[in-house]
Symmetry: C2
Subunit: 242 residues, 2 copies
């Protein structure tokens, strides 16, 4: 059976999604459990790779597995055997010709900023702690310059040196108490693109640069783009298909 | 200076609040940092002890420290030196005759239940995962039988065999999406009292016992009280003084 699963994971202890020899990656954990259930090697294909420390709510994977006990039983068996930091929220048959990466119409990422003077013991693995007050309205304006089809080469590199033109479909930046949530949906993302955007965005929110500076960075103008935001604030929320 | 501080901590990695030889307790971490800043031994007195795995948002401590650089500088120095799972949210002078435990009028605890079929990678250290659907209305009714002044000996033991009569001032149980929050305020609590109450409460919420069973348990009637809820769902939210 060719199956599709939606997977959530806490990336804190993970060296990233993708398989690496001898490392406890998310892909490695999923394949180990699937292989154990199938009693034959099972390979997993994912919608996107997430870096070390990056989380996912809605990573989508496919795999082919001989299984005769029903999808609900497989779902339960997966969650019983997977480590505590990975959970499967959905298992179903993959549509014909479906590919988790190539069939994807868009991806939604959320970046969480903790914006208060003191750090939080509970949010340290799922947010970036920024002490100085940030201007969410300026950040929203800055994000608006990124919407549409642009060459985002300044904000990241493409796999295998592909072209760096992408379409940002939607951006948002909202304050909820001490948290600032930055949401970006695009057809596809370059490597570290969201973290580089948020790194720049925080320098605008703090008042160091005006919102228009984002348009100048996008156009490749100086000064140099600030360093990327740290990985733990980032989460792959959802992958959308047709 | 005799100072009062409000401390929040993630109890996940901690063997509890109270000092234990060779163990990385919260009290031990606070005293080590204060001693380093004072360059003389500093002892901490706390409003309440929390067990291993239990969290605090509003633990209150007092300590006496020679310090000449202002309270704001002390506050910043503490947070700079404390480990990431402990944060001080407030530092001020303690009122005359103040004792964090004996001056307390009441304590508020919150117990968080994750009530959905699948576990959550992010809430595993801060909630109890209960799969079967729970009836929040029945749980609220059960809690109401505990309000007022009662002998709670069934729900826990007192330090040094003191009497086990306590006053529960307020209870609440609300569902917020997949989370159920159980709030209990009392003048003081017996050891493991909240966890024992919540352990019983979940058996009522699942329909195994009617709400009235809580009154029977309180009265010491059979069947035996179910096991206590696990520590990671519990958080000391606030200590109230006159």
């Amino acid at each position: 059976m060719n199956l599709l699963a939606v997977v959530a994971y806490d990336g804190t202890a993970s060296p990233g999604f993708q398989l690496q020899a001898g490392e406890p990656t998310v892909q490695g954990a999923l394949e180990a459990v699937l292989t154990r259930l199938a009693q034959a090697p099972v390979r997993v294909v994912a919608a996107g790779r997430t870096d070390a420390g990056v989380h996912a709510q809605g990573q989508v994977i496919t795999f082919c597995i001989p299984w005769q006990h029903g999808l609900s039983a497989l779902h339960q068996a997966l969650n019983a055997l997977l480590p505590d930091d990975i959970v499967v929220s959905e298992v179903r048959e993959a549509p014909a010709g479906f590919h988790p990466r190539f069939s994807a119409r868009s991806r939604e990422y959320r970046y969480t900023i903790l914006n208060q003077p003191w750090r939080s013991p509970w949010l340290r693995f799922t947010s970036w702690h920024v002490k100085q007050p940030l201007d969410v309205k300026a950040m929203r304006q800055a994000l608006s310059y990124l919407e549409g089809r642009h060459d985002f080469g300044v904000f990241g590199r493409a796999p295998q040196g592909d072209n760096t033109t992408r379409t940002i479909i939607r951006t948002d930046c909202q304050r909820h108490g001490h948290l600032i949530l930055v949401d970006i949906e695009a057809d596809a993302f370059l490597h570290r693109m969201v973290r580089r955007i948020v790194g720049a965005l925080v320098r605008i929110g703090s008042g160091e640069f005006p919102p228009e500076q984002m348009a100048l960075w996008l156009a490749g103008q100086s000064p140099k783009l600030p360093p990327p935001a740290p990985p733990q604030g980032l989460c792959l929320m959802k992958v959308n298909y047709q």
